[in-house]
Symmetry: none
Subunit: 226 residues, 2 copies
């Protein structure tokens, strides 16, 4: 490498020759620094050189900063070894989207069981077409071990079959969404819904087992009827 002090002056003559060359080389996409032909400012080689050097050094620092973060990301994203930069960023995008969605879902799940007891019963559309009555039930109440056996017993008494069940239990509260089908042909939709409402209201307000305690406020707790 050239020492700064040994640099010669950047004379107009030198510039003219360079300019001419640059002109020729422009046509083949040469990246020679183009100095304006009418420029009257001629820095010394040492100035040019040190400016150029500091510029390239600054640019290197910038690149290093970016690449450092990229390699950090590479460690965070599994199976991103041996991926190129674009591929890495692509999977980072996917990961962030996925994690965001999951976080959002989690907060939805966390809020799921409502704090007030509720019983919502709605008749499914297709139930009017045949003898089978199909209802969808949303049901929130305090959770407790014996809840499911009570529920099962009650549904069996009403001759209801569980088609689908979505159950969330959190913080001592439980929310159940059931799709139920009646196999009792003599029962009307109205009376069935009434019986169901009574059943669920009884279960929801039934006192909890005295010695039953939820271990943690946030713990999932789910006991199947045995």
């Amino acid at each position: 490498m050239m020492d700064d002090s040994s640099c010669s002056e950047y004379l107009p003559e030198t510039h003219e020759i360079l300019s001419s060359w640059c002109h020729n080389l422009q046509e083949v996409n040469c990246q020679l620094p183009l100095i304006p032909a009418n420029s009257c400012y001629f820095p010394t080689w040492s100035q040019e050189f040190s400016a150029s050097r500091s510029h390239s050094e600054a640019e290197k620092r910038r690149r290093d900063r970016i690449n450092a973060h990229l390699s950090t990301l590479r460690k965070l994203i599994p199976t991103s070894e041996k991926m190129d930069k674009a591929g890495l960023l692509r999977s980072v995008v996917e990961h962030v989207k996925d994690l965001k969605e999951r976080a959002k879902e989690m907060s939805t799940v966390l809020n799921t069981p409502s704090d007030i007891d509720e019983v919502i019963i709605e008749e499914e559309d297709e139930s009017s077409n045949n003898n089978n009555i199909l209802v969808k039930v949303s049901f929130s109440c305090d959770d407790r071990p014996e809840l499911f056996s009570e529920l099962n017993r009650g549904l069996k008494n009403l001759k209801l079959t569980t088609i689908e069940a979505n159950i969330t239990s959190l913080g001592g509260r439980i929310k159940c969404i059931f799709s139920l089908q009646s196999i009792n042909v003599v029962c009307t939709t109205h009376s069935l819904k009434h019986s169901l409402r009574v059943l669920l209201a009884r279960i929801a307000t039934s006192p909890s087992t005295p010695n039953f305690r939820i271990k943690s406020k946030r713990q999932r707790f789910f006991l199947l009827a045995t």
Copy 2:
């Protein structure tokens, strides 16, 4: 821009002049393409030119790809407007770390199903004291409607009673933690654990019902055996 067809041959003379210039310009960090002095291959200008052009175009495409992902990330990360690339990547790293930690915490709290199938069977301490074998099973696999009836049937066959069950289903995955008690007095702990492992491995790897589709990748889906 020069038309390819009008390019002149890249003759040795031209190369010599260029080489000499390149030598001079090297000292000021010139990026002129350096052709080896002993090279005996002289491509035409048109070849040089089109190769250079396709190279620079490919490089531009690469940069565009990377930058497209970066701008996608910019949309995903709040308050990353008006940040430079390094800053953006820095906050992406933070975001990913944060979201990962939160997801991990959530799955710990909620007992979320892991992404890989697993069967963990451990014998409870008190089981050695009497004839009843008590085991705790942690079991993760893909969720599907018939899973529970298979599980129930299998456990019944092994003469196991469910003492406690903690079940979480999320995003098409299911995790079950069972406390099981054997009512088969002639069965040894070792053979029971083996049978259990075989049963769960079979259930975990059993193909899903062909027409069963999870509506959403992350949708909560929980079907009780009917």
